[in-house]
Symmetry: C2
Subunit: 552 residues, 2 copies
């Protein structure tokens, strides 16, 4: 058996359990399976899948996972200690846990005397019995146990002796991990440091009975310490780091920091902080550079907009906007970047925005394969046009394809594939919810020929999009491969209600590439329509450029 | 003169300068003025307004602020040191700063030898001269100076002697604050602690010349240390706290943590952490409870969706969703809350969601003034209906008025003020962008009478809303006071483009109250329409309840 290097840490992901407590987040069984497999690929050793019994979805999830098991990771069930004054063997909750068929089970119990008396309405002794009975029973059924000490830090501050008795009760009967939880998220790092150090010292002196006979995962005769933090004081990641530096060997957290209230420790920040800055070993290097993709994959599956400003993995994490930064980072990235974006699978971006100076426009042009000079009047003209449009509500930061079109236009390189002459949309909802029909007609000019086309759809934008494609596909057969992959609407100046301007962002794809375009109008349909039209145009342009490149 | 209590800290807000570096954020002069006055009310002593000269908007901002000055706060201009091999008096940048007319100026300069050589392309000696010349000149013009030491921590780690020489150069000529900046956001708290302690020790031994003659704000003969952190490692708040505990007396940050890349230290977390948990004094207690409102005000003015999961000030920060938490927090809030939400002007919420158990429904009913019992079949019926609608894409977490209507319906208490029979919308855009017209017709039944109304608008939702009001106002004159205050659209299952379902959230108001309703459909117009209709209905219901209450 190999010995464990001293810098080895164990990650424990609870996106599928604690993460789903986030307000606004809900997942299907299929979603959970996809996420579990992705976390397995990322190299997370422990993945908490849910609480079968408390939630019928979770029972199904564990069963389906048995049919298509994870490659490396341990999938873990989560459950509370038995109820007061019952026996573990008769506890239906624990039967549901056993029938989920996992090797590992996480049991959470009370550490804080106040919670035992006020929350559970039972005695301090009974709480200790609940912890040890539950874990002993699971051990007798061949399960390995992680013990989550709920409200650990609040409890320890009030009554350290009792708090230590609770984890000793767990360890004595064979819990292999004692995870200290900052359940309310109110603890600050200096308190975490002090308390975790105390716990590491105290547990190091324990003489445990025969409960802990099996060799543990960590090769240690004594249970190891873990940390589980919440972000209510914006300290979840800092607290996790403080605990590790004080001796904790397991970090619990979630992808993107999802979790109840303000969330859990964000593994997308915890992992690179520990691995790139503190030289701990969590996941493989080839796995670390999947981090950004994993973050975005999970946000897509749970259908939440990704946090563009998230550390390490956000779209803006290595974006440069201010003129001074842009010129410096062009000279030497190290000047304004704390790590290399590629280490976590992210990339550097030069942002086009209202504050942009010429150097941003030139850097952006370069990323599109065009060399512009500072003294080039066209560079100034692009900047000017961009600022005008931005003052109308356009935003090119997320709509790089629209910006490219603007740039091509200024440079006289914009091909006119087609010209839109106008459109009409008609929606008729009689007896609401029974029939929903939209009809769109468009008039498009291609090569001097005017085409009038109409299409129906279950919404006005779908009808518009369809009518446009019908008009164009006879001239440009590749349009058949284009698809509208995402569509977002944002109301500008929200406080003026429906009279406000609407900004539509449309993401289109052709199977290989994806691009985003923008439209702005007081009319939501016109804004959507502008973005759809530019999406088609940019797709045609990509095709045109690819054909030209082949000919050369 | 009063002495400064040892727990006094000075906050320095840079929302209006560093905050506006956030990708996607842009502000008008009017926006900046509103934010500055609000920060003044919050009790922030230093407010950085911008860099007049670098940005024409900022010149205007400082001029307009002189006409309507702040009550307590010092407004501060921001500028770099003079260019290499020039003189401060001939530097046009500094003339723009002087003409802004502020008492205080923040000058930033280089601390990191690497940046001096690679970025500025000048000598280490010239950089020291740039710092001291610039500050000495501003002092000679009667200005008080804060010195921001850019890239301090990276620089100190590479070459501590040189880094210390740079801030000594600033202090010797009279800078009153030396602010250590973690510009790239890559530093971890234990490094901050060590380095700030070293700086406090080193500066304590300095014997300064006569540059620093004026009594400083802090009554100290020596300059005080400040901290400026960025969130690239998700450590901005933790780092600010670490610096304060190591002796820093000023904290720079922004409201909601806005800032370039991953943002700056979030003052909405920094302030309550320092004041409620570490007993430092930053702002008044009556100001602390304006924190949530200030956070939302600023996000509204800069037109960014508030982060609902933000610590302390987020809408979800004290929201309880899981069944166990809800029943415990109902018994005793202290069990699951790290502070009292009212201390920061926030409030506790019981969340209605897919995971809701009966106890959540009952708690929610109570907050609407209705007593339901767990065994009441109506409670189960509400939960069942809610789950059905949520599986179709409805979401009641943000649409509490729609949830109230659902609940009233289940209890047989939903008044039928009107009935919608159908609607038609027609949009015609000939020669796109020249004429934009939408026409809506609606058919509504009130008290057995069918009304057909039509209205035009510059968008289809505005036209629909207007037609509905015209139909209802003769029966319910209070409809004239209702207004649509916000309108948000979200595409569900974004990956299927325009065929996806659309969820519309509509916020309505009557001058005293605001409420939110939700609609879902594959047709964006129908989804909007559902939410607009429920918004009108809920407004009528509020009015009806108020009248009933008056009669009793």
């Amino acid at each position: 058996m190999t010995t464990t290097p001293s810098n080895q840490l164990w990650l424990y992901d609870t996106t599928l359990r604690d993460g789903t407590q986030r307000e606004g987040l809900s997942v299907s069984i299929e979603d959970k399976l996809r996420i579990a497999h992705r976390l397995d690929e990322l190299g997370i050793p422990f993945i908490e899948g849910g609480w079968p019994g408390a939630n019928p979805k979770d029972v199904q999830f564990f069963w389906q996972l048995q049919e298509n098991p994870l490659k490396q990771a341990e999938i873990v069930t989560f459950c509370s200690t038995r109820r007061p004054h019952s026996t573990a063997a008769e506890e239906p909750m624990l039967q549901a846990i056993l029938s989920a068929g996992t090797r590992w089970v996480t049991i959470f119990g009370k550490s804080w005397d106040f919670h035992v008396i006020e929350g559970l309405k039972t005695s301090l002794e009974e709480n200790l019995a609940m912890i040890s009975d539950t874990i002993a029973y699971l051990r007798s059924q061949g399960r390995r146990v992680i013990y989550d000490a709920e409200h650990w830090f609040d409890g320890y501050k009030q009554n350290p002796d009792y708090a230590l008795q609770t984890i000793k009760a767990a360890a004595t009967v064979g819990a292999e991990w004692l995870v200290l939880c900052d359940t309310n998220g109110g603890t600050l790092p200096h308190e975490i440091t002090r308390i975790v150090k105390n716990v590491v010292l105290a547990t190091g002196d324990w003489e445990l009975g025969t409960g802990n006979t099996e060799k543990t995962l960590t090769q240690s005769p004594l249970p190891q310490i873990g940390i589980h933090t919440h972000n209510d004081s914006e300290m979840a990641v800092a607290n996790a780091l403080a605990a590790v530096m004080a001796g904790a060997k397991m970090v619990q957290g979630t992808i993107n920091g999802y979790g109840e209230r303000c969330g859990n420790a964000n593994l997308c920040s915890v992992i690179p902080n520990l691995q790139l800055k503190l030289d701990y070993s969590c996941i493989g290097e080839h796995q670390l550079n999947q981090l950004t993709e994993t973050s975005r994959f999970v946000s897509e599956v749970v259908n939440l907009a990704p946090d563009e400003h998230a550390p390490y993995v956000g779209r803006s994490a290595f974006a440069h906007k201010g003129g001074i930064h842009v010129s410096a980072v062009e000279r030497n990235p190290f000047t304004y970047e704390h790590i290399q974006p590629e280490q976590v699978g992210n990339r550097r971006r030069i942002v086009i925005s209202e504050q942009s100076g010429l150097s941003n426009v030139i850097a952006k042009a370069r990323s599109l394969g065009m060399e512009l000079d500072k003294n080039d009047p066209q560079a100034r003209q692009i900047l000017q046009r961009m600022k005008e449009l931005e003052s109308e509500g356009y935003q090119f930061e997320a709509a790089e394809a629209s910006f490219a079109l603007l740039m091509y236009e200024a440079l006289g390189l914009r091909e006119q594939f087609f010209e839109v002459k106008g459109f009409q949309v008609h929606c008729d909802l009689v007896e609401v919810k029974e029939t929903t029909n939209s009809l769109a007609t468009v008039k498009v000019g291609v090569n001097g020929i005017n085409i009038l086309e109409a299409a129906e759809g279950n919404g006005p934008v779908a009808a518009l999009d369809d009518a446009l494609r019908k008009a164009l596909v006879n001239f440009y057969p590749q349009v058949a491969d284009f698809e509208l992959t995402d569509y977002k609407v944002r109301i500008l100046n929200g406080n003026t209600g429906t009279a406000a301007k609407t900004r539509a962002l449309v993401e289109s794809g052709n199977g290989q590439q994806r691009w985003t375009t923008v439209g702005v109008s007081t009319n939501i349909l016109e804004a959507s329509y502008q973005a759809v039209v530019e999406g088609l145009e940019y797709g045609l342009l990509l095709n045109f450029q690819a054909e030209k490149a082949l000919k050369v």
